[in-house]
């Protein structure tokens, strides 16, 4: 019997949803297990880092890494898996674009640690201890992973061959991606393994979108009784669909919720948030500056809405660091 292709899974800065997505394959996971040999999957199987270190270079066919890179340990694991794998795949929005953890780029390390360890109402920390990378206790010293100033997408840290989009990738997206990777013909390096068209293309409400959309107020889902047939943008809901890659079959929209953009932009777009902004701005009904301002003020949390999954991968990348943090960031590179 010929040796089955080896596959690895790893989890960086993420919620674990992508691991769930793998399990969500349901019975199909049996086919996967029949087709491949899983050599590393910390969430489900008992392998250790040293097991991976012991593997020959390039011996794994595909490593699926989900989660953004937020700590030095995650960066080390990304490099390690890169060297052991023929193909490194960013699985899910966080690895693909930085994801929800990437919104931490609106802050820097110091302010995050301060908020979590000193200021949060539920925190009890009378000594004011903060996480550190070196710790000595009772003659023993330990090295701990460092917490980066900036969250990065996987391909900003190591070379990535493919990305599987979604938060999390739907079973269909993941299954199709897996088939592509195990198939004979690999797509061009860097390809995002989903259709390269915006979500409206597969949206069940597409026909109800008027040609001349004119938005007088942006509404949040709880503010109205949402018509289940009509285009959500036409109802004033901020739907990211026009700027978001298709492939999910418009699951959220079918669930009567606007698309939040998790599959990221199409291959032609460098900055998903900027693109939806420039398209929405042109649909705002107001003519006078004050009226336009009033309409735009109804957009809740603009960065969190337009860049919910893509801030680290966008042209914005992060909030500008002050000079001191910049030096530190440069030194840590």
């Amino acid at each position: 019997m010929p040796e089955k292709p080896k596959v690895a899974f790893y989890w960086c800065a993420s919620c674990g949803g992508c691991e769930e997505a793998v399990v969500d394959l349901a019975e199909a996971i049996l086919d996967v297990i029949a087709a491949v040999d899983i050599v590393f999957w910390p969430v489900a199987l008992d392998f250790k880092r040293k097991d991976v270190e012991a593997m020959p270079e390039g011996s794994i066919l595909v490593s699926f890494v989900n989660g953004a890179i937020r700590t030095s340990e995650q960066a080390e694991m990304a490099h390690l898996l890169r060297s052991k794998s023929k193909l490194l795949v960013a699985l899910g929005a966080c690895a693909h674009l930085g994801g929800i953890p990437g919104l931490a780029n609106l802050f820097d390390r110091e302010s995050i640690l301060k908020a979590v360890y000193l200021e949060a109402p539920s925190t009890v920390n009378p000594e004011g201890s903060l996480p550190t990378t070196h710790h000595k206790d009772d003659g023993h010293s330990v090295e701990l992973p460092g917490f980066y100033n900036t969250v990065q997408a996987l391909n900003q840290v190591v070379e990535v061959d493919y990305s599987v989009p979604g938060c999390p990738p739907t079973p269909r997206i993941f299954r199709t991606a897996l088939q592509t990777l195990l198939g004979d013909e690999l797509p061009a390096k860097g390809t995002v393994l989903a259709p390269d068209c915006a979500l409206c293309d597969e949206c069940p409400r597409k026909d109800s979108k008027p040609e001349q959309l004119s938005i007088v107020e942006f509404k949040r889902p709880q503010q109205l009784l949402i018509d289940e047939q009509k285009c959500l943008l036409a109802q004033g809901l901020l739907c990211m669909g026009p700027a978001t890659r298709a492939g999910c079959e418009a699951l959220c929209v079918r669930g009567n919720m606007p698309c939040s953009g998790c599959c990221g932009p199409t291959s032609r777009v460098k900055d998903q948030g900027a693109k939806i902004l420039s398209s929405l701005a042109s649909l705002v009904a107001g003519k006078e500056a004050a009226e336009i301002d009033r309409i735009l003020a109804t957009i809740p949390d603009p960065v969190g809405t337009f860049y919910r999954y893509s801030l680290p991968a966008s042209l914005l990348h992060r909030k500008q660091l002050d000079r001191a943090s910049l030096h530190e960031a440069a030194a840590s590179k």
Binding site: D196, C197, A198, L199, C200, D201, K206, D207, K209, P210, E211, Q212, L213, G241, P242, A243, A246, P265, T266, S267, R268, V269, K270, K275, I276, S278, S279, S282, L283
Partner: protein, 672 residues
Amino acid sequence: MPEIPSSAIESSRERPRIGVYVCHCGTNIAGIVDVRAIVEFAAKLPGVVVSRDYKYMCSDPGQALIQQDIAEHHLNRVIVASCSPLLHEATFRRVLSRAGLNAFLLQMVNIREHVSWVHLNQREATEKTKDLVRAAVRRVSLHKPLQKRRVSINPHVLVVGGGIAGIHAALTLAEAGKQVYLVEREPTIGGHMAKFDKTFPTLDCAACILTPKMTAVGSHPRIHLWTYSEVVRVEGYVGNYKVKVRRKPRYVIEDLCLGCQECVTACVYKEAKNPDEFNLGLSKRKPVYLPFPQAVPQKVVIDPQTCIQFKSGKCKKTCVEACGDRKAIDFTQKETIEDIEVGTIILATGFKTFDPVRNPYYGYGRYANVYTSLEVERLINASGPTAGEIVLRDGGQPKAVGIIHCVGSRDANTNRWCSKVCCMYSLKLAHLIKERTGAEVYNFYIDMRTPGKGYEEFYDRLLDEGVHFVRGRVAEVSDWATHPSEKGRLVIRVEDTLAAFVRRIPVDMVVLSVGMEPQPDAQDVRRLFNISCSTEGWFLERHPKLAPVSTFTEGVYIAGACQGPKDIPDSVAQAGAAAAEAMALIDAQFVELEPYTAFISEDQCSGCKTCIPLCPYQAISYMEEKKKAAINEVLCKGCGTCVAGCPSGSIQQNFFEDEEIFEEIEGVLAYA
């Protein structure tokens, strides 16, 4: 659209072999930019095969140099670092074409207007030039061969504005055999010139030279004269404009009215009660009226604001009775919209005069005998409200008249520009007032500006006629008498800057030589015809020297004072030039358009419809069967709005593809 030969596409896919040519532009560029350093820098950039400099790249030897290099070194991309592409892009594109390369494999770097003319520091200018050249080298590698589009030209012309400029342009075109639509907002053509008595410096009677032209317009078989009408919508593109014209109801059927004015005599108002617009309110008119005796067309108009029939519906309608069988009066007339198709448009929408209420220290509107120059034109005019007699509002004759120059001109508080015509018309008014009344006439001027054929001579003549000239900006006009000789008169207080003391000069009449301003709706008109305005609001010409009547919109020309203050000879000259430009286009029968159109890749478009309302040219439509958007390439003008607006990046624009722009940006930012 002609196809691009496949050989051209293939050669563009080959590895780039770039030639970089840096122009000295005499010392224009070389005086600030270290041209040799740029040549050496460019030679080392990836893909660059040849890098040279030359004193004048645009000259014949300069062009020959590039052409020869293309052949010898098998160049497939060319960069010329010289002046603005507006000036010489066409020149260098022709060089590429002659050498057998597609013209769009050229990239120009503007190192004159963007570098040498705006920087003083040599080192910095040279470094900036390097960045720009690097950007061009990176961009040009991605250029694809493109083909210009050819569109036919509709030979009909729209002229907007029936002042002297519009009249002259319309007649010139009609005489040349073109069909002309002349649209005028007022009920008659003639514009400002029709209000004048004499014209400077020859003192020709304005009516004598204007009215024959007006009549010619009215009767010309190839001119469709639409007065009391406004353009409300313009669609299309050069050679193929679709225009909607709103014809306001004059409540008189133009075809039936003979201009006999019996209705005016018969109007139930025995006395005229409403301010006469043509005479600037210096006389009265009835609700049914002819704007002025020589109006063209000779058709009356009914003002619904003042006509009893419109106000109460209970008029005896004696006008209808007087009109009798001609049945020209129609109270039920509605506005109509006419759709026309033209190939070219000439805008001659004129100017407005400065409202001197904005300079309260001159007392206009407060003192009865402070007039604007235009009002005085009407007073002097033989067919004006006083039949040419210069009388004050109380009927008396002025013994002394002060003419204040530069009201609303050359003034940091109002308009900074010189209105160009005021010195000359003030001299003309001074002469006419002196001639008709024998009054003492004072001119208060800042500088006397009389450049023009026969203008300085006219000024000399006035000096001999005993008109007084006081050099100084008038501080104030008041009725505050400090001496018995000033009692009941207007006192002009001014610093005589030649004699160096402050004068008080009592006069009976003050004439404010008001300057010229853009029309109040110039911005709306600008948007309607998609042209630009200068910061002051004058319509912007494509080039102040070399394309003075063209605009940045192909096929739209400007003439007369809508482009900036000018006198009658200049307006007429511009009108002739605009007509000639339009004819040049019409007689060529087609025009080549830049191929910078946007295109949608059908398999990438999600059909989100975002782009459709964005297009200012209605070039994008939604294909219901495919559920995708499509761009009509003929209508697309390459503005790029849809490209920026497409949320999935599925619209690209020739010559401005994302990759090309990003390469260029990265090239600029990649400090060496």
